[in-house]
């Protein structure tokens, strides 16, 4: 399963912009070394479609392009961003005014604001910042999934591609 030179993570434009503006350009990411695990034919690691950066990117891009008002992924992202704001407020990273800003922004954001971005992260520069999520949070007990709680913007690249 040793395939770690690059890590990939799909996030939304809104989550990216909020982290840039309010969290000192530090980003919370779930990532995996497999861009599209289907291409590995299941040989290297069990990374189910729900954790595949490429699959997540495609389904989010499709829901955004369909302007799907009931998109599960978009609603999931809204709540995820709110949870992040709640945590950052408790950690003292943001103040009450900024917390209110984020809650208001999430409420007013429109569907295109949730378009996907692909983060490309060199493993060598983040190895000391990565942790494994608890087993109950992983899509599969053996899946290669990692969390980076505070990833500085200068340690990764952002790609947006058309579908």
């Amino acid at each position: 399963m040793e395939k770690l030179p690059i890590l990939y993570s799909t996030n939304t434009w809104l989550a990216y912009m909020i982290a840039q503006r309010y969290y000192k350009s530090e980003h919370y990411v779930w990532c995996t070394p497999f861009f599209d695990p289907r291409r590995n034919g299941g040989r290297d690691a069990a990374v189910p479609p729900t954790s595949s950066p490429f699959e997540v990117y495609c389904s989010l891009a499709e829901e955004v392009s369909r302007r799907d008002r009931h998109s599960k992924k978009i609603e999931e992202n809204r709540v995820g961003i709110l949870r992040g704001a709640n945590a950052k407020k408790q950690a003292g990273v943001i103040d009450e005014v900024q917390e209110k800003d984020i809650v208001s922004i999430v409420s007013q954001a429109e569907i295109p604001d949730f378009r996907p971005l692909m983060y490309v992260i060199p493993y060598s520069v983040v190895v000391d910042r990565m942790r494994e999520p608890p087993p109950e949070d992983k899509a599969h007990p053996l899946s290669a999934e990692y969390v980076i709680d505070q990833l500085p913007r200068d340690l990764f690249d952002v790609i947006e591609f058309g579908m």
Binding site: Y16, R21, P134, A139
Partner: protein, 116 residues
Amino acid sequence: MSVTVPQSLQQSLRKETLIDAGYFVIRTLRNSGRGYQNPLVSTEPDENVRVLANKAISEIEQQEGMPIASLPADRINEYIAVLEDFTRRTYQRAVGHDSERAANILSEMRSSTSTD
């Protein structure tokens, strides 16, 4: 039978705990919908959040008469939708909402098209 927000979440007083617990209940339900064999509340949050989230999951299971892992996908999605709405509204009520300021910030963000 319509889906309702578990009582334990409705009665929770501390906003910080409630928002976190709501998020982790949703995450557990979503993992169940993704086919996790034994979906459990994450051990990541503080204990008071875990306790509240576990209580809310137990209430859902009691109301439905089955473990969440056995719930049909449609039913899980109904719970997730209700909880997402509840979490958002609760947070907004707690901290307030400034639509004009949010619109201005969003407009400013959108005009900065670069992600460099």
